[in-house]
């Protein structure tokens, strides 16, 4: 029987390590697709610029309005949570451009598989903000009919929805349709096995799915480098999925790369991974306290990259802003906030007996038995107290 050999001296690294290679390449401003400069000027050098060349003054103004409205929804929901009207809220503050930019690229027959933070995407899909509140209030596990808006309700198990998106995309493919599924997820989610399995299935079947990662730098208290030393975008490449890294705070760049990814999907070229580099400016949820784990300096740094300020600078640079427009925007935001607040407070809460509804689509004797015995119990209880 052979025993192991002695260890020889090993000469210097004959193969490059991707970590070394990439560490150089990935300083943020180098490979990020960016279409609005920090000065608010649209850049034209990028090959992606052509993809949003059709976005003119009116659409830019409507985009800015959406960004403001979405931020307002977020602020109002945070306030409602503080007032006890919601059980929890996961703020999107800072991620408005990543969400609005990508969502506006989608077609009506595309289907969004969201995580729990995509209020901006939901808004663009036409979901009434009041519907969004229901889930966070604790009145329902959903909030709207996914088929009505082409978007799922919140997925709480991190990463689970990426497989659903991939399977839905396989269905699109089997139907011979020309639409796409879009999976939204965070930087933390990329560590989950389900994400990698989704990448694998999507690559193998060339499924028309767009993997849209909002790298907001944090997974609760864990900085992104705990999930990956490399840019998240690199992750897709090992699966054969073309990947794009985009400035997630640049609404036009996000829209452009999403259009690109969708076009690939529509035309049978398969999946694309987009990493939108952005920042969660608020807490993970209203239960979280970021001061326990991150420095104010980091928050300050990202404040300077505010996604709304960027578009506002663009609008100003292009002379598209005036008092009337700004008032319109403010009115829109105010109205949305007012309506979601009253909608939320006026929620009709589910009745106890609804516990047994829609557990199954078809009759189930155990449910019926439990429903009956619970009803009988409630009656006994009532009898006793009366």
């Amino acid at each position: 029987m052979t025993t192991v050999m002695a260890r020889p001296d090993v000469p210097a690294n004959p193969v490059p390590t991707p970590g070394q290679v990439d560490a150089q390449g990935l300083t943020p401003d180098q490979d990020l697709v960016q279409l609005i400069g920090p000065d608010g000027r649209r850049t034209s050098g990028s090959p992606f610029a052509a993809l949003v060349a059709d976005i003119g003054p009116e659409e830019l103004r409507s985009i800015y309005r959406d960004l403001v409205v979405v931020r307002r929804i977020d602020a109002e929901a945070t306030a409602l949570q503080r007032q006890g009207q919601l059980g929890l809220w996961a703020p999107l503050l800072g991620q408005e451009a990543a969400q609005v930019g990508s969502a506006r690229a989608l077609g009506a027959d595309d289907f969004v598989f969201a995580s729990y933070r995509e209020h901006g995407v939901a808004y663009c899909r036409g979901v009434d903000p009041t519907m969004m509140m229901r889930f966070w209030r604790g009145s329902t596990q959903s909030g709207w009919n996914p088929y009505e808006f082409g978007m799922t309700t919140p997925a709480i198990v991190v990463g689970s929805q990426a497989l659903h998106a991939t399977g839905y995309a396989m269905g699109i493919q089997h139907d011979g349709a020309s639409s796409a599924a879009v999976a939204y997820f965070g930087d933390g989610a990329t560590s989950q096995g389900d994400l990698s399995e989704a990448f694998g299935f999507a690559a193998t079947f060339l499924a028309p799915v767009v993997f849209f990662c909002q790298n907001n730098q944090w997974a609760i208290s864990e900085p992104v480098h705990l999930q990956s030393h490399l840019a998240i975008a690199k992750r897709g490449e090992g699966f054969g999925i073309p990947s794009i890294r985009v400035d997630g705070n640049d609404v036009l760049a996000v829209c452009a790369v999403t259009r690109h990814a969708l076009a690939r999907a529509y035309s049978g070229q398969g999946p694309t991974l987009i990493e939108a580099v952005t920042f969660r400016m608020g807490p993970h949820t209203t239960s979280d306290d970021p001061s326990r784990y991150r420095a104010p300096a980091e928050e300050e740094e990202w404040k300077a990259k505010d996604p709304l300020a960027r578009v506002r600078a663009l609008l100003e640079a292009e002379g598209l802003i005036d008092a009337a427009y700004l008032e319109q925007v403010t009115t829109s935001a105010d109205e949305t906030a007012r309506s979601l607040r009253s909608g939320c407070i006026g929620t009709v809460e589910p009745l106890p007996m609804s516990l047994f509804d829609q557990v199954y689509a078809e009759p189930h004797p155990l449910i019926e038995e439990e429903r009956a015995s619970y009803a009988a119990y409630l009656e006994r209880l009532e009898d006793q107290s009366s």
Partner: protein, 326 residues
Amino acid sequence: MTTMALGKAINAGLRCAMESDPKVVLMGEDIGKLGGVFRVTEGLQQEFGEQRVIDTPLAESGIIGTAVGMAMRGYRPVCEIQFDGFAYPAFDQIVSQVAKLHNRTKGDVKMPMTIRIPYGGGIGAVEHHSESPEAYFAHTAGLRVVTCSNAADGHLMIRQAIASEDPVIFFEPKRRYWEKGEVDEQASLESAPLHRARVVVAGTDVTIATYGPLVSTALAAASVAAEEGISLEVIDLRTLSPIDFDSLEASVGRTGRLVVAHEASVFLGVGAEIAARISERCFFRLEAPVLRIGGFSVPYPPAKLEDAFLPDADRILDAVDRSLAI
């Protein structure tokens, strides 16, 4: 009526379901050209093409998770988990997604998915190939769990499972794949309800409730007992979630005695729920406590020990004796 082995009957049932509904797609590992390691999907890819019989990458969570998406798109996926022990990597998708999506969305999203799992021991296999995980799934609200024990049920129940608007975990007793029986391929989906137990042999002294691979075993025990003048009533449960307690109660009403047998560990196995509920429902009619026999609270053993591990006719008869001794 055609004589068929259980495995072939499920194959024929799958073919039937695929012919009658173009939305039915099969997904799994090695189910295409190979026809599955047990050949249950044999010939189906050739017949229906690679779009409808999909060999997937080797990832169970991926299979179930993408099937959820396919179902959302209007398909009716039938997933094969190659062996019982490989259902666990998909456990999260099954219990948190498949089971809950319909309820989560108040019925907006249907989940008409079938998950086929060859289960149980007795084939001399290596580790993780002989598990009986049915209690995990039966304890999970939102799933339906059934298991066939013979060819006729294999053919009928797989079609019913696929036709169900709810997700069904379909357990196939792998060591019975080669047992033959009469199959009525024309049997309508309504010919016997999916969620009804069946009295396989009527008897008067003790009721034996069992399912899947142990039904044959219980029948053997009943024959032996009959020779000794003991009349056993054998019930094939067929459905584990829901469990058909009415049929059980009726039988125990006749016999006053119940023995439950399964391969899964007795501790918190399906027999626990049956014993608990029948002890409650038949409190004044039981002449002896409900006895349970089954797997021990140990990991499934290596092949050389499985005869010792698996409940056989002797162990059933021993329990019958103990029941009658009270």
